[in-house]
């Protein structure tokens, strides 16, 4: 392996500190990057790895500390300054202009100096070519000279067509597949990433920073990406990969820098370390990795999803013919590369997304439970009774024959009218409100907490009553009950907040999530769905959430957990459904399956076990 034998430092971070509000994102970070190496930056979510790289790329200004590039003190105040030093960064959320073509995105932001440099480079190439020719005793023809002049002049100025042909050449050389004239809004995720990398290379970046580049790619795409990265390293470029996937770290990098809670803990050479050592450094003091998992009791089918197909916001079918059952007293895990349709699946169950085909059937556990006027009218109860849906406490069938309405009401209110069977409800075509009016309580912790589960500019009380504000008090709000509830949540889940009237966006990610999960649990749901509930949370908060989920399961709720960390899925869930590209590639027993097995299924569908 070609490594850092040359020992030329291209980037040095010295004592970088960055504070956002009250949160310290980076504290005294010192970090070196050598020429021609692949450096992995490893750390959990929120450990400050992306922040430190954003500082190098000029997106954030550090509060303290300095950056040295090629041994000289660099002043980087904007991404453009950073580009001037030959640093290119590919962000996790692509920074592309949707209505522009690939070529337009690539040349965006280049200035006259850049074009002059391009021309100079071509001129040098042409001259060396001619020198070669002259050595062989051949004089370049008049036409050839003219042609070369033309090429140099063309490179001097802005011209989309010239740029497109230059991009084509570049793609051919590295093996990228990219159509320079394709609009970004028509591109796949992988195409967009390719475009970002080509964009950096087009600017002659010597230092390339990739923020979680593999999170959205298929294995084949990852292989291709790693091949390109290695080619670039062999070209003398330095590459930084921000990631939290250990196997990729071991596979591709020369050295690994580990971040923890905003600090740079250590840097080690990859071939002298092990996954275990890296984990320990990443997590810090050893945390009990045992997640509580109770044995399921009273398992009953609760939610049937039959042949479901759902489209995403762009109108693409992202859930394709999916069928499964969620059972009460069980945690069903959903594994898959992010963007495999998990989000759309949960939103469809919640009633937020129209179903293209298929149905969602809910078994309301009403057997031997009393009917109430809370969700049913007298007329409905009478109609159901005529079908023999009820029995009395002694087990005899009720038909209300010869009873007045008053008597029936009394009987219902005395809880003497009991259901014979579970109620079966088709949720297809119903919106969240209609579902709730049917008495079906679904809890949903969405992926986008502040954008979907909560309202960021409201205080804790108002956020707590999002689900319950319709109750009572005629047209007016009742803030008393939610206040009591949030006080309870704050106490039980140990939410750290200045008070109940604090705006929720001022809380840290973990506390925000506790409020959201606490609120959803307070709904006393029958089905509890959570999408990436521990994303961005520290270890302790994550464990609080895991335990809460397990507790829900024990109290007879059907829990659906969408996660990305396979270790957690295997330790927490009872069954795991693996999605690949919107289809089910199989179900596994979480107590028996291995990570490798699931990993394989995430990338290939069709093998049902």
């Amino acid at each position: 392996m070609l490594t850092t034998s040359n020992n030329i430092k291209v980037v040095e971070l010295k004592n970088i500190t960055k504070v956002f509000g009250s949160k310290v994102a980076n504290l005294n970070v010192n970090l070196d990057l050598y020429k021609g190496e692949i450096l992995s930056i490893l750390g959990e979510n929120g450990s400050g790895k992306t922040t430190s790289m954003n500082i190098i790329s000029g997106l954030y200004a550090p509060d303290e500390g300095s950056i040295y590039i090629n041994g000289e003190l660099a002043k980087i105040n904007s991404p453009h300054d950073s580009l001037m030093y030959g640093i290119g960064m590919v962000h996790q959320h692509f920074k592309l202009v949707d209505v522009f073509t690939a070529a337009e995105n690539i040349v965006l932001g280049l200035d006259k100096q850049d074009y002059a440099n391009f021309a100079k480079k071509i001129e040098e190439q042409e001259e060396s070519r001619f020198a070669e020719l002259r050595k062989q005793g051949k004089e370049p023809s008049e036409e050839e000279l003219k042609e070369s002049k033309k090429r140099i002049n063309a490179a001097k100025s802005f011209n989309i067509k010239n740029a497109a042909s230059r991009i084509k050449e570049m793609c051919d050389r590295y093996g990228f597949e990219l159509d320079p004239n394709k609009k970004v809004y028509n591109m796949t995720v992988s195409e967009k990433q390719t475009l970002e990398i080509v964009k950096a290379l087009y600017r002659n970046a010597n230092i390339l920073i990739l923020d979680e580049p593999t999170a959205v790619l298929t294995p084949q795409e990852i292989d291709r990406l790693f091949m390109v990265i290695q080619n670039m390293r062999n070209d003398g470029k330095s590459i930084v990969i921000i990631t939290h996937k250990l196997n990729e770290v071991m596979r591709i990098s020369d050295r690994v820098a580990i971040f923890r809670k905003g600090e740079h803990v250590a840097t080690v050479e990859t071939n002298k370390t092990s996954i275990k050592e890296l984990t320990d450094m990443m997590v810090g003091a050893k945390v009990d990795l045992e997640i509580e998992r109770s044995t399921p009791t009273d398992v009953a089918d609760r939610l049937f999803v039959n042949n479901l197909s759902v489209k995403n916001n762009d109108g693409r079918v992202v859930i394709n013919d999916v069928s499964f059952v969620a059972r009460s007293g069980e945690i069903l895990g959903i594994a898959g590369i992010s963007g495999s349709g998990q989000k759309e699946l949960l939103e469809a169950i919640q009633g937020l997304r129209p179903l293209e085909s298929g149905e969602i059937i809910f078994h309301n556990p009403k057997k031997d439970k009393p009917a109430t006027f809370f969700h049913k009218t007298l007329k409905k109860i009478k109609a159901l009774a005529a079908h023999g849906a009820f029995h009395d406490p002694d087990g005899k069938r009720i038909n209300f024959k010869g009873m007045s309405n008053k008597e029936i009401r009394k009987m219902v209110n005395d809880c003497k009218v009991l259901f014979y069977e579970d109620e079966i409800v088709n949720l297809k075509g119903k919106n969240p409100l209609q579902i709730r009016e049917l008495g079906i309580r679904l809890s949903f912790v969405p992926e986008d907490r502040l954008g979907m589960g909560l309202v960021s500019n409201m205080n804790l009380v108002d956020n707590t009553m999002l689900r319950s504000y319709r109750h009572g008090h005629w047209i007016f709000l009742d803030r008393e009950r939610p206040r009591k509830l949030i006080e309870k949540i704050i106490k039980e889940l140990d939410v750290s907040t200045p008070g109940t009237n604090t705006q929720i966006s001022k809380l840290s990610g973990g506390n925000v999530q506790k409020v959201l999960v606490g609120r959803e649990i307070a709904l006393a749901p029958k089905v509890f769905m959570a999408a990436y509930p521990v994303r961005g949370l520290d270890i302790n908060s994550s464990y609080t959430i895991y335990n809460l989920l397990d507790k829900q399961k024990c109290s007879g709720i059907a829990v659906i957990y969408v996660g990305e960390d396979l270790d957690v899925l295997l330790a927490l869930c009872d069954r795991i459904m693996v999605l690949c590209d919107g289809r089910i590639s199989g179900f596994v027993d979480a107590r028996k399956a291995t990570k490798e097995q699931i990993g394989e299924m995430m990338t290939r569908h069709g093998e049902v076990q």
Partner: protein
Amino acid sequence: MADKVAREKFIRISRRTDVKLWQRIVIIGASILFAFLLIGLISNIAAPGSFLRFYEYMFKGTFSTPRIFMTLLWNVGLMLLVAVALAPAFKMRFWNIGAEGQCLMGALGAVIGLYFIAPHVPTFLALIIEFLLAILFAAVWAAIPAIFKAFLNTNETLFTLMMNYMATGIVASFIIFNQTPGRSGTIDPLNSATKAGWMPQIQFFHNSYVYNIIIIALVAVVIWGYLRFSKHGYELSVVGGSQNTARYVGINVKKVIIRTIVLSGVVCGVVGFLLVAGGSHTISASIVSGRGFTAILVCWAGNFNVPMMLFYSFLITFVSSGSSTASSALPYSDAISEVATAVFFIIIIASTFFVNFNVHIPWLKKLIDKIKDLFKKKEKEAAQ
């Protein structure tokens, strides 16, 4: 690439989340004082030596007699009511800049009642009909852009802006169509002899606006309560905060948008009704006289909060009618009142920056530190 060295940052800005109430009050108070000072300076430039006299005239034109003061209150009330009409829309992040046109359409509705119906029915009934026509016209006018926003996500800022000029054209056409014989393009106050369909006028400090002001106060309180305590008010804040969240909790976003904007229009209709039945008893295309636009600024500066909007309505009415009075005594045009209004709001709007952001000026900090060091040194020397 080129080894270009960037310069050090001259100034650095970060969002602040910890601003305290007293800091807020100090910032707002200081900027109001500064704005008043600036307006006086403008007067002084236009009419040298008028700096202090300008303020004197301002007070004279607004506080000198009970009658003048009541007129001020009436104008404050109108401004407040338009701002109150906008508050639900703005809170929902619906940029309704069509209040001018909505009020004008409300006035048109009221005038139609006053013209065609009031002479034939008892005044009490006439007033109710005028009121209903006013809120109907204004609500429909507001609902049109809202429906398109809800169903097609049509840009509401530009749509409502255009609706203002549509309203002006329709009203102008109505006026010409029904102009008082012998007059070109105006309608004289209607039913002057019988006062049919006029708001009853009780004399209070020689002023006839008492009922109007009571109605305004009532509506303002109702909207304030609606925004703060009602389920509807809560729903519209959720829609304004995040439409995704609203859908997630089962709020019908389209319904809430249309309902809120219709409410906004209804309140604008009340403004139109008061302008006609309780004010001029006729209509002109400029009857709203820019309140629809100024109220946007009032609403924005008051942060959609009714008491704060009252505060700013009062200040801005004081500034504009005060400076307008000053202009009649000083040798410049009454356009000073528009200039003063604009200057006032520029300062107020600019001051929100200091509420929302922290400013770090490295070189200034260094300078202050140096001066401090210098003083310390001197102190030490003195002590020795």
